[in-house]
Amino acid sequence: MSVAAAVTERIHWIGALDPGMRTFDVILKTPSGTTYNSYCVRGSEGVAIIDTVKLECADQFFARLQQFADYGEIRAIVLNHLEPDHSGCLPELLRRAPQAKLYVSESAQLMLKALVKQDGLAFVPVTTGDSVSLGDRTLRFLHTPYLHWPDTQCTYVPEERVLFSGDVFGCHFCDRRMFNDAVGDFRFAFEYYFHHIMRPFKRHVLDALALIEPLDLAAIAPSHGPILRDRPRDYVARYRELATPRLKRETDNGDRTLIVFYISSYGNTRRMAEAICDGAAEVPGLRLSLYDLEGSPVEPLVDLVEEADAILIGSPTINGDAVKPVWDLLSSFAGIHVKGKVAGAFGSFGWSGEAVRMIEDRLRGLKMRVPVAGVKVKLIPAREEILACRDFGRQVGEFLIGRQVTREIDFSELVSAA
């Protein structure tokens, strides 16, 4: 089981290969399997272990660890991320190295207790600016939460210029040659991992990059996939590119973006959508788009939503529900950041009209803001109903540019509406 292991003279990879893994975390495909990377850092006054591996791979982990250190030398154990594929061997490691101190991020404390259900588990919470000395080598911590769990952090060893980045810059790719200049072509895996794991947290990625970019980097050692020792900065730059909003770069004139999506069998909901756009168009400073959900697969529409400030969704009520393309779109929002965006719903119906309320509930459930109550029209919109749609579009537009309409309501209205 020979695997390229030396990151530097003082840092060794002691992780596990899992070439047979095909589906990860339910949501990811892993056509070449994956690796769980842990590392051993040697200082003049002790050894640190950075992350462990999943429990099923314990034999590989402990066998490799023993090649580079005795358990009695371990002074520090750092968990950069508590997901079980990195924390799985922690209890056994603590049993073998009881003298070692455990370091986790400040935000990881409650989670640690839920994962390692063990009384009296001692640990030291750390954040940006904190460091631990191993004699002639130092562990410096960077607080980089939500990449991709609340607890995540990075650890930097300045004397070696190596960053242990956790899942950041990682990917599911299994190749025992281990280094980015030696393994096969893993570009797809790198991009795919960002897209499925980091994408909902782009803002947090940008915050983390602000801490990472100033570092002097000889190598980035992530917790999955190849170790990036050849041109590590290219990967940092690629993360910045992937996390930076594109539309804002192209049209940074302060315009707010509003997208109206609809789907319509007989054209009634479409007529409403057009009137809503007409109303919104009366508000200055809006960049407006209108899309028929029937005309596109979901993915490109999700890209639009990711960079929009507001979205409105129109659906007829069919068999007591909004229609499937609407739910397909809404179910894809978990992969992007939508919390706090402005949203609303509208639609034509025949007799019961459940769709609008159901969409609004889902929008609120996604933590979007729904400042203007949706419009429902029975069958074909009449003239005054078209005017109500225009009003709705204008009100949402005005809300977006900060011309806020204030409303007074009684709690009982909310309760009966729900």
Binding site: L110, P371, Q404, T406, F411, L414
Partner: protein
């Protein structure tokens, strides 16, 4: 029953509620940007900035104090899932 006026500054909506109503019960129905996760003072998803009326809100429980401390937030931030409205207050999502 005593009434209180809870204003959501981010969407410009004021709701008259019975005193003793939890913020989260109102915020999720009104479509303000205040989000919730666990609803039990654990995750800190529902962090809410109190612009005025802190003195009209229920006392913090030890759990709320611990969660707020874990998020390093200023003194005028509360958890919407824990806080009862006892009198008039103006709030908005934390950081929003």
């Amino acid at each position: 029953m005593a009434k209180a006026r809870l204003t959501f500054a981010d969407i410009g909506v004021s709701v008259t509620v019975p005193a003793g109503t939890r913020i989260i019960e109102v915020s999720e129905k009104v479509g303000s940007g205040i989000a919730y996760g666990c609803r039990e003072s654990d995750c800190g998803t529902c962090l809410t900035t109190v612009e005025s009326g802190m003195e009209h809100l229920s006392e913090k429980s030890p759990y709320e104090i611990a969660t707020l401390a874990g998020h390093n937030v200023p003194a005028n931030v509360r958890l919407a899932c824990q806080t009862l409205v006892l009198g008039d207050a103006v709030i908005r999502p934390y950081g929003g």
